[in-house]
């Protein structure tokens, strides 16, 4: 277990390190002169340009620039936004709670509704299964922005149950504001988790060990919980983990569509403004969160099914 944890941790650090290089490299190679952008105007004066280039180390060789950036990150100072002229840390800190809440909300919807409907489809008869299959197919096919438009139209414009726009203040108001974005964000993932759950539950239901448990006279509930769901849990958890981790990236669309001021919308806006410093920091943060969530899921799965410890070593 210790060895397994060590390996996982090393993998996590390595992945984030490689990601940091890729993210920095990609934006370094991207077209456009950040100095010109920073100086503003059509004919920036050369002296101002040079001053900017020096301040942002734009003339240094690639690796040196990367090193500046990385050491800044590691000391907790990723620099200032080129456009907003505010420290990246405070930009992120101001938006992280909203995005965190949105992701948590969407994750709960995915896990509770997705897993529950999947179990239901797996256990119930053909009719229920059919209805759920159609529903999940539609959900999976609909892109988040289409879902967002539909949700806004029905629940915000027509029914006025939820606000059309904004992030809200105070916990309950925020939840109220984030309900439609969370629904738009979770739809496709929810359907996906539901499908996987259904498939896994079906597979376990027809397995020999479940038949053997039934023949031992164990109650249906017990067989369902301790044999079917217990054994279906690791794959469901793995898929849910990837899904939840991916939600952070998915917030870009949902936050933009609903005017929620979070990390996702900041990422989109910064990219549009070519605000490299912010884009780099957020991109790396998203990667780190993704890898971290996946690592946690892997560890949890190894606890649930210790065979995983053995197979990989």
């Amino acid at each position: 277990m210790i060895l397994f944890l060590g390996r996982k941790l090393a993998g996590l650090v390595a992945t984030v390190a490689v990601a940091s290089l890729v993210i920095f490299g990609a934006l370094y190679l991207a077209p456009g002169d950040p100095a010109a952008l920073l100086a503003g105007g059509h004919q920036p004066n050369p002296a101002a340009l040079a001053e900017i280039r020096a301040r942002y180390h734009l003339d240094d060789p690639f690796l040196l620039q990367y090193w500046h950036w990385l050491s800044g990150l590691l000391t907790g100072d990723p620099g200032d936004s080129m456009v907003l002229k505010e420290p990246v840390t405070s930009l992120i800190a101001a938006r992280l709670p909203t995005t965190g809440l949105l992701v948590a909300y969407a994750s709960l919807l995915i896990l509770i509704l997705g897993v529950a409907s999947g179990i239901f489809a797996g256990v119930a008869g053909k009719a229920v299964d059919g209805v759920l299959t159609v529903t999940t197919t539609v959900l999976m096919a609909a892109p988040a922005f289409v879902a967002a438009i539909l949700l806004i139209w029905v629940f915000a414009t027509k029914l006025s149950w939820f606000p059309v726009y904004g992030s809200g203040t105070g916990f309950l108001d925020r939840i109220h504001h984030l309900t439609l974005p969370a629904l738009a964000l979770s739809g496709g993932y929810l359907a996906y988790v539901s499908r996987i759950t259904r498939t896994e539950v079906r597979a376990e239901l027809t397995s020999d060990h479940v038949a053997a448990a039934r023949v031992r006279g164990l109650p249906r509930r017990h067989v369902l919980r301790r044999h079917v769901l217990r054994n279906a849990a690791p794959p469901i958890l793995a898929v849910s983990g990837v899904t939840v981790a991916a939600l952070f990236a998915g917030t870009a669309v949902a936050e933009q569509a609903f005017g929620v001021s979070g990390l996702g919308s900041l990422l989109v806006q910064s990219a549009a403004r070519q605000d490299m410093v912010v884009v780099q920091a957020i991109a790396l943060l998203l990667v780190a969160i993704f890898v971290l969530v996946n690592t946690l899921v892997d560890v949890l799965n190894a606890v649930l099914d210790p065979r995983l410890l053995r197979e990989r070593s």
């Binding site: 448990a213 031992r216 006279g217």
Partner: protein, 318 residues
Amino acid sequence: MTAPLLEFDGLRVSLGERPILRDVTLSVHAGEAVGLVGESGSGKSMTVKSVVRLLPGGSTVDGSVRFGGIDVGSLGPADLRRFRSRDVAMVFQDPRATVNPVRTIGDFLTEVLRDQGVGRAEATRRAAGSLAEVGVDDVRRRLSQRPYELSGGLLQRVVIAAALLTEPKLILADEPTTALDVTTQEEVVAILNEQRRQRSAALLFITHDLELAAAVCDRIAVMYAGEIVEILPADRLHDDARHPYTKALLGSRPGTVPPGERLRTVPGTPQSALTAPAGCVFADRCPVVESACRDLHPPMLSVGSGFAACHLLSEEVR
């Protein structure tokens, strides 16, 4: 003689249009061991599964299986569960497939007892005792291990320990050693038989190994294409076997010919209830077949020490 513990009475099972069991009539008395032998596909597994109502969906059942005089088919859900939990226990062919791979041996052994209302400590104590009785060592450690940490032979002992633990009146063992290493097969069967004898539990033992069945059981029932064709005392197997199929099986064992010579096999390919002829099920492969065999279904006749269903015997009997 007292009423049998388990009674198959003209049991017929079909899956849709397809016959699986054509006519199974057999009884197992309390404390008795009955061997059910036959080639693969003959319906042995379906016969035992019908006892615990584990038949595939879409099966139709005619005739009856009675346990202690009660028709198993008539049990409601609660009674069926009680019957499965307390009266019978099943040992399957492949322990790797039938023990939940992610839970511990201790969980597996105690879950039925716990469901019956036995306390955790007491259930664990009894599980440990049962494991020790089937020859598992280091019992405490085993209880916290998982199936993948045990060898097949050891795991099958765990399954046997679990079967004994609930003190069933009947143990159904469906080729319990086929999936095991040859070296451990005999040991495992010997332990199963010894332990169930001590508890005077009856045993319905399925195997395709006639010799093994004869060594373990009191009586042998020979099955072919969904029918029982001969039943006889295990110790009379070699002398009294009358059905051409039983004789063919006896002739196909290793050891019946001098080493180096070709082993005889039962001619033709094994049939299921679906492909077998309408008259005698064995007619297509029988070396002594007569014309009547193909059209007329032979009745079960009492011959010598047992029973056999074969037209050729009817003249002798008369």
